[in-house]
Each structure stands twice: as C-alpha cells, then as structure tokens.
Subunit: 222 residues, 2 copies
Amino acid sequence: MDNLQININVNPDIYLRDPSSSELGRKITSVSIVLINELGFEKFTFKKLGEKIGSPESSIYRYFENKHTLLVYLISWYWGWVEYKLVFTTNNINSPHKKLATAIKILTQPITIDNSFSHIDEVLLGQIIISESTKVYHIKDVEKANKKGYFEVYKSVVQRVSDMVLAVNSKFEFPHMLVSTVIEGVQQQRYFVKYLPKLTDVKQDADNVSEFYNQLVFKVIE
Amino acid sequence: MDNLQININVNPDIYLRDPSSSELGRKITSVSIVLINELGFEKFTFKKLGEKIGSPESSIYRYFENKHTLLVYLISWYWGWVEYKLVFTTNNINSPHKKLATAIKILTQPITIDNSFSHIDEVLLGQIIISESTKVYHIKDVEKANKKGYFEVYKSVVQRVSDMVLAVNSKFEFPHMLVSTVIEGVQQQRYFVKYLPKLTDVKQDADNVSEFYNQLVFKVIE
DNA sequence: CAAATATGATAGTAATACTATTATCTTTGC
DNA sequence: GCAAAGATAATAGTATTACTATCATATTTG
C-alpha cells in the first residue's frame, strides 16, 4: 500500500466536475476535510472554504451542487478507500475464518497514515466519518440520494463482508444487519469514547472497540 | 400504563420555559413532532412551526433557545418515557435473565400507542428518534451540551440496562458498549429497513430487528 | 492560434436564525 | 374586584446562509 498512487473511483453523479482532475478540485477536497473538522459540518460553508483556499464560492459550486454532496463525496471516497484495503488485504487468505477476522480488523482499527493519496488526509477524513457520516443519509431525500447511487460503495463494503460472514456460517440469517451494526457501531463508539464516555467502556490505552466488535461478530455467528 | 396521567421529567436546563406547563408550550411540542416528521429536521424552522400553530416565532423562542434544543427536549422526553416503561415493566422480575430479556424487548420493539400523555404522539416521536436522534449529539458543542446534562436520561437508560447485563454475567467487560450498540443499532436498522434495505436483512412481516438484537445480546454475554 | 473551457470578481436574492420593541391579553395575589 | 405581574401577539430588523447570475480574464487543447 506504500506509494502505489492508485485512484479511488467515486460515482460521477456525486459531483458536477471531478475534483480529483484539477488543482482547484483537489484543494476543495483536501481543505474541506480540514475545515469540516475544524468547524463541524453545520458551521462549514462554501464561503469559508473559498476564503481559506483563495477562491470565490461560485467556483466551488462548479464542483459540487452544495456542501451536502461534498460530504457525500468525501464519505464515498473514504469507503472506496476502505474497500480497496479490504480487497487487497483479504484477497489471498483462504481460511474463511481468518478472512473475516482480517476484514473486521480493517473495519474496526483506528485509521493510520496512508501516503498513496497525497491530497487526502485519511486520518482527518476518518474523524469526519466518526463525527459527521450519519448526516449523509439522515436527510429527507434519502430515497432520491439512494437512487442516484450516492451510497453504493458503502453498500458494496457491507455486501463483501456479509459474504465473508456467510462463508464462515452459511446458515446465519442476518449477515447484513450484523455487518452494518458493526460498521456503524465502531464509529459510534469511537465518538462516545471521545465525547460521551459513559455510553461506552474505556479502558486505559487498550483498543477495546476493535476487540469488542471482533468478539461480537464471532460469538453471534457461531 | 393506561391513562395514569404521569409526567415525564425533562431536565429544565434544556428549555427556557417549561413547554408542558402551558397551552402554547404543549402546542409547540406536539405540533413540532408532526412538522419535523413532515419536513425533516433541516427544513423544519420555528417560523413554519409558528405559522402552523398560529403564533409568531418570537413566542416559540421564549420556550426554546433554538430548534436544536427543541429536538434535545423531544428526544429527552422520549428516553424519559422509555426509562419509565423500562423500570415499570422490569421492576417485579426476579430472574436476571428474564429481566434483561424484557428490557431488550422494550428497547427493540416497535413503538405502540400510549394514551398516558395526551399531547405527545409517541409513535410519531419514535419516527423522529429513528430519523433524527443522532443529530442531537453529533454537533461541534457536544461537550458543552453534555455538561449541561442534555443526555442524562439517555445515559441513565444505558446504565440501567448495563446493570442488568452485569446481573446476568458479572464478568462481562463491555456492558455499556453492548447496550449502546444495541440501542443505536435498533434505530439504525429500522431506518435502513425503510430507506436503505441493502444494509439490512428484511424478511416479510417478521420483526427481525428485535429478534436479531435479542439473540445478539445473549450470545455476546454468555 | 483560435475556440473552448475554467476560474475570478462581483453582485444579488430569498430564506434562515435569530433579537428587539411595544401593545394587548390573561393570571394571580391581596 | 382590581392592580401588578407575567405571557403572548404583532411587527420590524439584522447578519448569515445558500445559493444564482453575469462578465471579464486566464488557461488549456485541438
């Protein structure tokens, strides 16, 4: 995964102009990651982003319809990146049990630096996933957004891991429910550890979250 | 639970004037539940609410600082109501296993009509919990909101059920993580069933969600 | 090197999220 | 029964947000 310079494909219906194809576009995505972290998504505006990158907001509107689709783009990029790691890492594992365990690890462990994509800070983007990702589908127009394919990559990740669950136990009835519970749960718990510790169980330094969900998956399907 | 006319206590720091204490206040909460469902929280405004109840927005601002704290109120009321049902129903159960199973049922089963609180439509409020509740703590000022006690009732519910988990298995290490995963997971999955079915496993008419989380809890802690 | 395309600079608009003021209406306390 | 206190209505006003529009100037590309 070091310095291969691959590209993550994002559904073109999400953007008006491909932000990875120009200097300004790359600035929009990379600086928005910083700014959304700084301000939170609600306080984040295209005007503030424009000021920070030295471009008028009207130029940003040529890339994204609005700040919401920019968030859809970032989150879609993230899951494309996770999917890439997932496929890459589990590809050559034969044992279904080991394969699933590796997948769960990738989904639950804290994000570390990845130098393959110079303009995206994956660690910061991981923070956005933790803090803001549910906002992307908790909207009045979910159905429209879903039809446009905004959540395809995410669904694809859930599908892949669900298949791995079935490879371990083909009779398990709720693979998608289990996997989406785990994926959403991890983000949730990392948020709770940081801001609402009474809703979780934090033990000094140990990565309980990853451990908990790993145990949970195998206990539930066996 | 039929027609006892009890009151759910909501932390007074959440509101400026107690909405349950006046006609206008009760109209604000009951009509906001309808309107938030209709418009989604983002499109919901005090102006629109004012038009619907025939009062100026300035009057609504005397009850709540902003629409966000109104949502905090509604969600806090909901968890107060759930806590009441939880305590009431599990109180006289001796077997720890049965007690926990009953609690999980209350947390996971679909909401049904409750006539004890005339001005609150619990079923509609349950829809708000499913669609909008994560927005209440996914904000830049979580820590401030948390210090003000906005999430105390919710934490109290998690604590109560965590204690029931420990009563079944005192050595289980992650009771809070398990319980908050279940509570959040249920809402999540009900949302997915409705809008993003590929992320879950829907089987005709059966209440899989409740069944799934019930199984999950006991498999994980045993 | 002309034509197409992208960006910058600037302006404008309706809606949102409030705050402020004053008049009226309704309680409640004596 | 009435004055004082408190709540609500009516109205106005403001900064910010979330855009859209226009035109000039760069930059790319065929």
